[in-house]
Symmetry: C2
Subunit: 203 residues, 2 copies
């Protein structure tokens, strides 16, 4: 069984769907018997970066800290999933260089759609000028140029995005294809049945 650690680095606007996808992937990886840790932007700010604000410098420091912890986890066999906006390309690339086993997922979604969703009510405040340095409104977001995976959450379902991510992780050798992995007995049986049916031409 493959248990190479890696970092799955989500990046994208607030409301694009990073945390939602991170949770789905977390469960899928746990179902395959992997150790998984989600480093959510808010959790890290509370525990490692209290006192930092949202200026470029403070954001960079926060992202470097997330990168450092993801590095420690992934070099010890863990699947580390980060779900912070991480708007600046240079710091993401710095983390990529440090970590090595780095898989970048661009969670792409137009700012207008994120603002319509406005899950946390932050866009309304940002557009009204009440939140300074709000990514996509009053602060820049630099799109990845070489992300391993791009998901478009305004165009595809979250299940489709999650499947795309899992398939790419298998392709990159970070996950075994399901049939040979440590899935739960139930999943394994289902998969065997599916394969059998496929061989017989039913699916």
């Amino acid at each position: 069984m493959t248990n190479r650690g890696f970092t799955l680095w989500f990046t994208g606007l607030s409301g694009a769907g990073k945390s939602t996808l991170a949770e789905i992937i977390e469960q899928k990886l746990k179902d395959r018997g992997r150790y998984v840790e989600v480093l959510d932007g808010d959790i890290v700010r509370t525990n490692l970066s209290k006192g930092l604000g949202f200026s470029k410098e403070d954001r960079d420091t926060n992202i470097r800290r997330i990168g450092f912890v993801a590095h420690l986890l992934s070099r010890n066999g863990v699947a580390a999933i980060t779900a912070a906006i991480s708007p600046y390309r240079d710091i993401r690339d710095e983390c990529r260089a440090m970590i090595g086993n780095f898989v970048e997922v661009y969670v792409k979604c137009p700012v207008s759609v994120c603002a319509d969703r406005d899950v946390k009510g932050l866009y309304a405040k940002a557009i009204a000028g009440e939140i300074p340095h709000f990514t996509g409104v009053s602060d820049p977001y630099e799109e990845p140029e070489n992300a391993e995976i791009v998901v478009e959450t305004d165009l595809e379902s979250k299940e489709a995005s999650a499947d795309k991510i899992i398939a790419r992780l298998e392709e990159l050798g970070y996950l075994d294809p399901v049939a040979s992995s440590c899935a739960t007995a139930g999943d394994e049986d289902d998969e065997l049945v599916r394969q059998r049916l496929e061989e017989l031409g039913y699916v």
Copy 2:
């Protein structure tokens, strides 16, 4: 094979021998096929706590961050080893409560012996009043009251201290006794020979 994660928390004065013992234990655990990460006080200050000083409040924040990272590692099967002075009992106990699988090692050594060793030349400066808040000289060190392990580095060799720590980790169920662990082939052979000789009454 047991691979329960845990945190081995060294505490003691500067120069008591925390880092030296951490390195020896790190190697012994790696030899047994375990994932190990040493969180050295200096490394963590550079990567997670730049800007923090040595006031009680800043020290507490630094130790809480080390504890948070050790927690993430040890709940993912890793043996996390911390080697910071961590002078305050309440924060160590807070980390103990958060982490759960927590093994405290008091690296005991009189301040006079540490000052004589003065590996980093810091005691001379601290005694001359050039370094404020220096633990054991101008800042308090609170001894652990219920450490799982106490080693006395002015009285015992580092090998003896390390053996004591490994034996206690086996006793606590965090490590398999060597015979059944994932030791290297060479060690395993030696152990088999020893067992055979023992059965035959030679040792």
